[in-house]
């Protein structure tokens, strides 16, 4: 810990400032502000899962929204029947892991845009189940009155309380995610992304890691869904249509695919920027938002964190060449003589 601070003073300052903002800013916001902050937290978790599948392991998935839906419906159905939130959470983890694992099998045969289509059709299938299986999901009527949990006797009904509750889960999930991507698994996932043939020749069981990437990424999407339901308190199938999967993909790409903090920034832009723009541009906020995203991706296809990464790399190169220049022997008149 102390070493981490000494080695990286800039990162420490950023971390402290961000933590302070996340903890204190909501105290100054009204109900809607806190609702949107909670939405940012939930979408960050969902995008973090996709960032594992797509960003680290390189497996495109257009089905992340479906897993948020599975988690949300599990949460809504069970909590309205009186189960505490922890029960649907565990159920959703098992369910999304199993379904995500199965969704990984096509990835063993097809890649890139073919895989995108396979996962897209799964997302469509999930949406149809949410809409048509009325006995389970109440179809287009939706599920009302999803309770917010009570933790240690404190109700999370007020938006501010629910925000801190979801923030706790964000911190927990990020911590576990960080632990995983820094482990040999993380390295194997990246090997899968960068060169699966070579990975296989180095003894890496690419099949198992591909399935794991799908299963774990989907599970994290499911966890986000479990939090989503009590946040919005009413769900119907529409939020889990294809648009959500595309939106989560956008968050991962805009933030910086394969960067740990990419989803945090991506969700910030996809969730909060349109709301903020709405205040300034009236009816044009979506147009302005679309233009901003396009400009960003033309300028930096690797997303926001890609810009910082590029800047750091250039600075390092400049420093290295300056060092070489200083080390080069210089000839004076005496030296030449």
């Amino acid at each position: 810990m102390i070493r981490a601070i000494r080695d990286n003073p800039l990162a420490t300052v950023v971390a402290v400032v961000v933590a302070a903002i996340l903890l204190l800013l909501p105290l100054t916001l009204a109900r809607f502000g806190n609702y949107m902050m909670s939405m940012w937290v939930v979408m960050t978790i969902a995008a973090m899962g996709l960032n594992l599948t797509l960003g680290y392991a390189g497996q495109i998935s257009l089905a992340q929204g479906a897993f948020v839906g599975i988690g949300a419906y599990t949460s809504a159905i069970m909590t309205t029947q009186g189960y505490p939130l922890i029960v649907p959470l565990l159920v959703a983890i098992v369910l999304c892991f199993a379904i995500g694992w199965m969704l990984g099998y096509p990835a063993l045969r097809v890649q890139h845009h073919y895989l995108a289509f396979v996962t897209l059709s799964f997302a469509t299938l999930a949406y149809l189940v949410f809409r048509n299986e009325e006995w389970l999901t109440k179809g287009t009527y939706g599920i009302f009155g999803i309770p917010r949990p009570t933790v240690f006797g404190i109700s999370t009904k007020p938006p501010l309380h629910f925000y801190y509750f979801s923030l706790f889960w964000l911190v927990l999930v990020s911590g576990l995610m960080w632990w995983m991507v820094k482990s040999p698994w993380g390295r194997a996932f990246m090997a899968l992304r960068e060169n699966p043939v070579r990975a296989l020749s180095l003894g890496i069981d690419t099949r198992r890691y591909t399935l794991m990437a799908f299963a774990i990424g989907s599970t994290i999407g499911g966890i986000a869904g479990v939090l989503y339901a009590p946040l919005v308190e009413f769900i119907d199938p529409n939020p889990f249509a294809l648009a959500l999967s595309f939106n989560l993909l956008l968050m991962v790409i805009v933030g910086g695919s394969g960067f740990f903090f990419g989803p945090f920034l991506g969700a910030l832009i996809a969730v909060l920027l349109p709301e903020w723009l709405r205040d300034y541009t009236k009816g044009f906020y979506l147009v302005a938002y679309a233009l901003l995203v396009m400009v960003l991706l033309i300028y930096s296809p690797t997303g926001l964190l890609g810009i910082i990464d590029k800047y750091m790399a250039e600075r390092k190169t400049r420093a290295a060449s300056a060092q070489r220049a200083a080390a080069r022997p210089t000839f004076t008149k005496e030296g030449q003589a």
């Binding site: 820094k182 040999p184 390295r187 194997a188 020749s201 180095l202 890496i204």
Partner: protein, 247 residues
């Protein structure tokens, strides 16, 4: 001398093209065996067929007398058979050190120990040793994608040796490597061969490199074995001269 790898009448056909057409030879324990032949004679296809990247049309391959025909590359690698590819195959976004750790991490422990165990799979020391051995100490923390071609080629070879393999198949390790580094590479290969007793099969077009490094040489032409012998025998073989200079 003991036979490590036995290649028995292996064929690999792609439609009407007989890329490998009935190749048989043995690789002996501890030797450095060269595999040469004109472009398109089936050397790399033979490698891919031996190592499970391609399923052979016919024939068998055995390692220490056990049939390994069509075994998955990852399983084969964990039995101690390692390789490099003709085209450069490093992981550009990982650092040199991480590339080496990655190359060794699947050889011990379980999936669970790789998740919950040490972050470096306990391989930092071995990676550092390999980095020093290949004289890349100043590059250890650099991303592999930023290295020069020759340095990446050295890293590629170093990765193949990370897990202490018994048998290493090198596909054109000297291709595109400058003369100074070539000497380095040859010296490194010899040292690993001598110290670890690892057996090598080397595909290479650089004749000087092959003839000075290998104890025996297999010459392929048009999918078949044309000759097997010591470098001196191969140099004097009229068939080989004919195959290289044309009919």
């Amino acid at each position: 001398m003991k036979t490590v790898l036995e290649i028995n009448d292996v064929k690999k056909h792609f439609g009407g093209i007989k890329a490998v057409d009935g190749v048989s030879f043995d690789v002996r324990e501890g030797e450095i065996l060269g595999l040469i032949g004109p472009n398109g004679c089936g050397k790399s296809t033979l490698f891919n067929t031996i190592l499970g990247q391609l399923a052979p049309t016919a024939g068998s391959v055995s390692l220490d007398g056990t049939d390994i025909t069509g075994m998955r590359p990852s399983d084969l690698n964990r039995l101690g058979v390692s390789r490099t590819f003709q085209l450069l195959q490093v992981f550009p976004q990982l650092t040199v050190r991480e590339n080496l750790i990655l190359a060794g991490q699947e050889h011990k422990g379980t999936m669970a120990s790789r998740l919950f165990g040490p972050r470096d799979a306990g391989l930092t020391a071995e990676a550092e040793r390999m980095i020093a051995f290949f004289k890349m100490t100043h590059l250890a923390g650099e991303k592999a994608g930023g290295l020069s071609y020759g340095q990446q080629k050295l890293l590629d070879a170093a990765m193949a040796f990370m897990a202490g393999p018994r048998l290493v198949l090198l596909d054109e390790p000297a291709g595109g490597v400058n003369l100074t580094m070539l000497g380095d590479l040859k010296e490194r290969l010899r040292a690993i061969n001598a110290e670890q007793g690892a057996t090598f099969v080397v595909i290479e077009h650089n004749m000087e490199f092959v003839m000075s490094l290998c104890q025996r040489v297999v010459v392929m032409a048009e999918g078949k074995v044309l000759a097997i012998g010591t470098p001196d025998e191969i140099r004097a073989n009229p068939d080989v001269i004919n195959a290289y200079l044309g009919h």
